[in-house]
């Protein structure tokens, strides 16, 4: 078949999938931190110099650069420092809109973690609000980040001194 020109209608695109297989190594601190979640414990590490507690635990303080050689346990309750009301669905996250994503400063920690807030109207969320972790039931926790389902307004007051030695 002889043609005088290529087809007038072009192909519009080609598929070019980038596929990157990783073998992620948690490292000592992240391994201990994740395994502790199975026992409903949230761990941090304490800076040798400033005594600040970082969650999840880090080997060195990003502030003083000193080692954080002590692991401690922080509370599963804390305070919202800042938050965001999400109105746009995110691929891979099947949550009813709108929902609240918040920074939560756990009791005993000096740096907030990022958390999902549920069981609460979005308009009731405010800075300084007390929240508590809702854990997966016993026997279902795997030692990963999914072990904490979300945070909700605190239903009990936090007891005792934080952080605690482990």
């Amino acid at each position: 078949m002889k043609c005088s020109a290529p087809p007038e209608t072009p192909v519009k695109y080609v598929e070019a999938v980038v596929w990157l297989p990783y073998h992620y190594v948690a490292g000592d601190y992240r391994a201990v931190y994740l395994r502790a979640l199975k026992d409903k414990k949230i761990l941090g590490s304490r800076c040798d110099v400033t005594k600040k507690v970082f969650v999840p635990p880090v080997i060195n303080s990003p502030e003083s650069f000193a080692p954080c050689s002590e692991l401690v346990q922080v509370s599963d309750q804390g305070r919202i420092t800042t938050f965001c009301i999400v109105n746009i669905p995110v691929i891979g996250r099947n949550l009813e809109l709108p929902y609240v994503a918040a920074s939560v400063l756990l009791d005993g920690a000096d740096i907030p973690i990022f958390a999902l807030i549920q069981e609460c109207r979005t308009e009731d969320v405010h800075m300084g609000m007390r929240v508590e972790a809702v854990w997966k039931p016993d026997g279902q926790r795997q030692g990963d980040h999914e072990d904490i389902l979300y945070f909700r307004p605190s239903q009990s007051s936090s007891s005792g001194e934080w952080p605690r030695p482990i």
């Binding site: 087809p7 072009p10 192909v11 598929e15 391994a31």
Partner: protein, 156 residues
């Protein structure tokens, strides 16, 4: 508890990061690919100075001027460069088994097209004559893989 006091089992996890891009071909490469599918024909484009560019880019790599007329070229030509892949990396390379990347200067063209030789790839070398092995009608989708591979031709 201090880090030095603990015996910690290593923890690892396999993860795959995937980006399902659709690469826009544009009007020139788009028509080149459409011709592979519908005409089973490889087209080049003439640029200023008279050279025929395959695959066409829509412009001249020498002076940036716009491409002009479409020119049909043969589906056979000469290998001008070879890279043999003995240990393909999963999904980074197009096939799990060893093959050769080749630059083929097709008859009628002045530049070389990147493709592969699979059959007898260990015999391919610069100067080898090769011919396109097309997918049959109905299986071509408007992709460079409408040409399954280039096959070695017997030396003239």
């Amino acid at each position: 508890m201090r880090l030095g006091d603990m015996v910690i089992e290593p923890m690892t996890q396999r993860q795959v990061m995937e980006f399902p891009y659709k690469h826009s071909t544009g009007p020139i490469v788009g028509r080149f690919l459409a011709a592979l599918k519908e005409q089973r024909q490889i087209w080049g484009q003439r640029v200023s100075g008279g050279a025929v560019i395959v695959p066409p880019q829509g412009y001249s790599e020498w002076d940036g001027s716009a491409g002009t007329e479409w020119v049909p070229v043969e589906d056979q030509g000469v290998v001008v460069a070879v890279a043999k892949v003995w240990q393909p990396v999963e999904r980074l390379h197009p096939f799990p088994e060893p093959f050769a990347y080749v630059l083929v200067r097709l008859e009628g063209a002045d530049t070389a097209l990147l493709h592969v030789v699979k059959t007898d790839f260990d015999h391919v070398r610069i100067g080898s004559r090769v011919r396109a092995e097309w997918l049959p009608d109905g299986e071509r989708r408007g992709s460079i893989w409408d040409i399954r591979e280039f096959r070695l031709l017997p030396a003239a």
